[in-house]
Subunit: 249 residues, 2 copies
């Protein structure tokens, strides 16, 4: 709940790298961290010591490295900032993904949590709002192609066409549960069909009505389902996903 708590930018980078490497390979070695951050092994040792001192890592020389619960919480916060920024850059500003990723790396340390939340709301709003945020973003993408210092008559014409053609009451096409989506598909959460603890758990994870969820991966067995909501990556069991009622536009 509290803030990302007084970590320097570089310690945040270490924590983020550790978190990501653990997600990818279930284990971290100092060397992996050094390689990912393009830093010497010795520097990694120092950072590990600092992070351990602040109780974000369980670490002893020559022993395995794991995140403490608190360390994991903070790492997730940092990763979320990164993801939200990258999504904004790529989805809204149409920045090239590689460049967006690099920029996100640098911006993630400076951005306050409230602004990340605001950015999430804005991106969601663009995806959801009947005023046509998606059309607007497409228009912007087109506009980027018509040359830099240009008044965009092409854009205006196309926009007028679109605007007159589809004034459109938003149509609710299908109603489904989150468990029915294929990887890559998105939906808007309508409600959580669960009670008590499970309901609370799901909402605490960030599955809030009105938010956009995207399915990222579904395990072969169909069971753990990886989704992204509001910049958070979640892993849900099929049972849980079935309780999340969504709407696909």
């Amino acid at each position: 709940m509290t803030d990302a708590s007084q970590l320097s930018a570089s310690l945040e980078d270490y924590l983020e790298a550790i978190y990501n490497i653990i997600r990818e390979k279930n284990a971290v070695r100092a060397k992996d961290i050094a390689k990912r951050l393009k830093v010497s092994n010795a520097s990694v040792t120092g950072a590990l010591r600092m992070l351990a001192k602040r109780k974000f890592l369980n670490y002893a020389p020559y022993d395995v490295i794991t995140l403490t619960p608190e360390g994991e919480r903070i790492a997730r916060e940092i990763v979320r900032k990164h993801e939200v920024l990258r999504d904004f850059l790529v989805k809204v500003l149409s920045v090239d993904p590689g460049q967006a990723d690099e920029a996100a790396c640098r911006l993630e340390h400076g951005i306050p949590a409230e602004i990340v939340d605001r950015l999430v709301k804005f991106i969601e709003f663009l995806e959801i709002c009947p005023l046509g945020g998606q059309k607007l973003v497409e228009g912007f993408r087109r506009h980027l192609k018509c040359g830099a210092s240009d008044n965009c008559d092409m854009c205006i014409k196309l926009a007028q066409e679109l605007a007159s053609k589809e004034v459109s009451v938003p149509e609710k096409v299908k109603k489904n549960s989150l468990a029915d989506l294929a990887p890559g598909e998105k939906g808007i959460i309508k409600k959580i069909r669960a009670k008590g603890t499970l309901r609370k758990r799901l909402m605490d994870l960030g599955l809030l009505p009105g938010s956009v969820v995207e399915v990222e991966r579904v395990a072969p067995a169909g069971d753990p389902i990886e989704v992204k909501v509001r910049g958070y990556h979640l892993s849900l069991r099929n049972d849980e996903a079935k309780k999340v009622e969504i709407e696909v536009r």
Copy 2:
């Protein structure tokens, strides 16, 4: 033309502060810098030496401090990043101005120039595009008020009303020159009615057709006019402003 060139974040802060203080009071003293950056005087001395060594400042102990042309150029780049970020946060995301300013301070060092340009284009697009970027932003502002985790039925209704009422071909209300605007007013640049050197100069300043210009201040005599385009602050003579043909919506 080149990049912000290898300055550390804190040296960028010094340069930015120096630039802003010069704009405000026509002179800088080490003390002013220290106060603005909340840093000791001695730290300022060190920074001044560094900046002078890199030829961004003309500086000698106990002598007046001025920016070199190169220093001024880079300072303007930094200030521009700051302004663009703050504008985005305030105008698009509706972040509280104080908070936006503080966040901009931290983000300005990490953001690449290309992304700033992209952000400028996006903000301009929202202001200009007939798809109704302004309406969308207003809708977003409203949406922020209807509570955090809520599906925004109110927003949907209001949006539908707006959308059906004003499908609207963009109407060109007035045509004027930049010199006719009052402080606070905005217009879209249609063309530069000038030739040769003057034309080039105005375009180099960033007065490009399609961009949004905002008049910030007009001197009592009506002559130097302060405007903002694409994150740049410019000071124009009345003669020059008359050459900039704009459209007010």
